[in-house]
């Protein structure tokens, strides 16, 4: 039973990270129907920025909690800046191009960013400092649950609740929902669609950076390639829940996290990634709209 709960919480942790990244995919897809392939790289850049900033602050001799409090905002700001810039360079000029063009451009951007980090930093795995403080309350359940897992799940839940509130109750959130329904109509009622799209990229990137810093701190190492796999898996989560749907992305993340944990815990750990991809293929075959998505009707 203890083993079951260990796996359960492991899945929950993974799932919340996937959900955080998946939100970026789903929000962007909801508004401009583009799979932002470079989103995984944003997550990686968030984690790398955090590593560098915490390294500099650590060398200055600051205490642990101060490092965490300063690292996270800097990583989030940088990831958002990258997300914003990428949109301006690689996607905005292709707003009216055939659907394949922005997708290929996104793949190019993803390759570019990976190699940018590889060349500017290092191709090797780097140890990531454990920024998350230990919690005494949790450490009693040692072996089943770790304090970093609790922090990740709680942070992810708070961030997602904040996002939901933002989209539901603020003016800008309303503008985002309107743009997702129909960009042209939104433009007609006076919404600055370009601004909304930029904001979507910024929010999505910020969430990915939070996820990146949390998971890197939990796992303890990063390299330039982590974004690729995390990106595909988060995309799987987004599709699983129904792409374009925000609660769907959260649910999809959790389902994927548990699937992976239980499959690796009880079946085989060699095929960890295969389970995620197989789940994606199965979902697309049997329920392409996802768990919470509505089937899209293509109109002429």
């Amino acid at each position: 039973m203890e083993y079951f709960f260990e796996i359960f919480f492991d899945g929950l942790t993974r799932g919340s990270i996937y959900a955080l990244i998946a939100l970026g995919y789903t929000m962007v897809y909801g508004i401009i129907q583009l799979i932002n392939f470079a989103h995984g790289e944003i997550y990686m850049i968030g984690a790398f920025t955090a590593l560098i900033v915490s390294g500099v602050l650590g060398a200055l001799g600051l205490p642990g909690y101060a490092i965490l409090l300063m690292t996270l905002p800097v990583a989030v700001i940088y990831a958002s800046a990258y997300g914003y810039t990428i949109e301006k360079i690689a996607y905005k000029p292709l707003r009216n191009a055939p659907r394949l063009s922005p997708l290929i451009s996104a793949i190019g951007m993803s390759i570019f960013l990976q190699n940018y980090v590889l060349l500017a930093q290092t191709p090797d795995f780097l140890p990531f400092p454990s920024l998350l403080p230990p919690l005494d309350v949790v450490d009693r359940f040692h072996g089943v649950l770790s304090s970093s897992e609790v922090i990740i799940v709680v942070t992810a839940a708070l961030v997602m609740a904040g996002l939901t509130a933002f989209i539901k109750f603020t003016r800008m959130g309303k503008a985002m929902r309107a743009t997702a329904q129909s960009p042209r109509m939104a433009m007609l009622v006076g919404i600055n669609v370009d601004q909304v799209i930029s904001l979507t990229f910024i929010i999505g990137s910020a969430l990915a950076a939070v996820g990146g810093v949390l998971i890197a701190s939990h796992v303890g190492q990063i390299n330039f390639y982590i974004g690729f796999l995390a990106g595909i898996k988060a995309f799987t989560a987004a599709v699983l829940g129904g792409i374009g749907s925000i609660p769907g992305a959260m649910l999809g993340g959790l389902v994927l996290g548990w699937t992976e944990s239980f499959a690796t815990g009880y079946v085989s750990s060699d095929y960890e990634d295969v389970f995620a991809f197989a789940l994606l293929v199965l979902i697309l075959i049997f329920r392409p709209a996802g768990i919470l998505g509505k089937p899209a009707i293509q109109k002429v």
Binding site: T49, I89, L100, F112, L284
Partner: protein, 426 residues
């Protein structure tokens, strides 16, 4: 003045953006920090200049200067076209080119021949993917899976049953087609971008299975001692076998070119292009969407599998590391750079992308970053690639026109050309 301000802001923005990753380098083991401020200066200067280039290209793209440049370009194109159509020029040129291709292994060193074989394998892969992406408009990001299937088919069949190259080649082609259908059947109902992700997932699954199923595939250590093709029992030395390999690849590439260019203007080929342009209209015209897509998918896979066999025979050693997503991305960038749909373009793209990094060894580590940038820039500024795919057109002669319509034949012919294939190359 506004331009100057704009560029200065851009430069400052990029200097800010690249500050942590380009400038600071933390050594996590010794806990030391290297500050590389010179990088910031490079980034600033580069961004300043590039923002001017970007704006210039953007203005050209969005009309304005573009039109004033085009007559000259068209004139050059016409001159080249006239040269190609004139048999007095084109026949000797083709003969000289063919002679060069045949004599290549005797003129250049073994090293050059080996590189050429690699490039030709990528030509095959590019032309195969061109059917899927360029003609049918299905973005396949797991193309390398079929390449791996072909390579492993040869390696394993040879290892366990001692089957030779010539036996396995058609078998692998069938296997590739079968795998294409198997994967394509469930996913081709999906919209384009989903297809991209599923194929990507499939490619990774294949690689992971190859890596982890050690008893069957020998895992990450790979399979070695794969024999090169023989010729009716004849044995070659090292040099001889590579030279023979070269001719085999040349023959296969020629076969590919012939088949692909015949397919392109066939009934199926026209259906592919119509499907690429508009699925709904295409279905309304009575084209079976699933069947047509499946055909593109499995034909592409066939070529990838054959290229895989050739690759296994050429390197005589394969392991799962040769079949990563980067390989798929590379083949995709060959097609995108060369010009989606255009056979000549894809061949040119393969040679540029494979040969340039070989000869510019110093820049080899910058290869992938350049690929990424090129993919973005081509999509933004030249989506048609290096060589624009030319559609077959019906040529209206004055006599025909008189009986046909009163006015608008000019603009409409271009669009209709995909459906009606009659007349000569446009």
């Amino acid at each position: 003045m506004r331009d100057l301000k704009h560029s200065a802001i851009t430069a400052a923005w990029f200097m800010f953006l690249t500050l942590p990753i380009m400038v600071i380098h933390v050594n996590t083991i010794e806990k030391t920090i290297a500050w590389r401020w010179e990088n910031m200066a490079y980034v600033g200067a580069g961004a300043f200049v590039l923002s001017y280039v970007w704006r210039f290209l953007m203005r050209r793209r969005d009309g304005g200067g573009f039109r004033s440049l085009s007559p000259g370009a068209a004139g050059r194109g016409r001159l080249l076209r006239a040269a190609i159509e004139d048999r007095r020029i084109s026949y000797p040129a083709a003969a000289a080119f063919a002679a060069l291709v045949i004599a290549f292994p005797f003129l250049f060193s073994l090293y050059q021949v080996n590189i050429m074989i690699s490039a030709l394998i990528y030509v095959m892969l590019g032309l195969g993917l061109n059917i899927v992406v360029g003609l049918a408009g299905l973005l396949d990001l797991g193309f390398v899976a079929f390449y791996a299937i072909g390579a492993y088919a040869y390696a394993l069949l040879n290892l366990h049953f001692g089957l030779g190259f010539w036996v396995v080649l058609p078998m692998a082609a069938c296997l590739g087609a079968f795998a294409g259908i198997l994967l394509g059947f469930p996913v081709l109902r999906l919209r384009g971008d989903y297809l991209a992700i599923v194929t990507l997932g499939f490619g990774e699954i294949i690689r992971l299975v190859l890596e982890n199923w050690g008893t069957f595939t020998q895992g990450p250590s790979g399979i070695s001692n794969i024999p090169r093709p023989g010729f009716f029992g004849m044995e070659f030395g090292l040099r001889g076998s590579i030279v023979f390999m070269y001719y085999v690849v040349i023959a296969l590439v020629l076969l590919t070119i012939v088949v692909v260019s015949r397919l392109k203007y066939s009934r199926v080929g026209r259906a592919w292009m119509a499907l690429r342009e508009d699925e709904i209209a295409c279905q309304a015209m009575g084209i079976d969407k699933t069947k047509t897509k499946l055909m593109a998918f499995s034909l592409g896979a066939t070529w990838a599998a054959m290229a895989g066999v050739v690759f296994a025979a050429k390197t005589s050693f394969i392991n799962p590391a040769s079949f990563t997503f980067l390989e798929s991305a590379m083949i995709l960038s060959i097609v995108v750079l060369g010009g989606m749909g255009s056979t000549v373009g894809v061949i040119l793209g393969a040679f540029i992308l494979i040969l340039l990094p070989e000869y510019l060894r110093a820049f080899a580590e910058y290869r992938m970053i350049v690929f990424g940038a090129v993919m973005v820039l081509f999509m933004v500024f030249r989506p048609q690639g290096l060589i624009r795919d030319r559609r077959l057109r019906r040529k209206f002669r004055p006599t025909e026109l008189r009986g046909d319509a009163d006015g608008d034949s000019g603009g409409a012919t271009d669009k209709a050309a995909g459906m009606k294939a009659a007349g000569a190359h446009g």
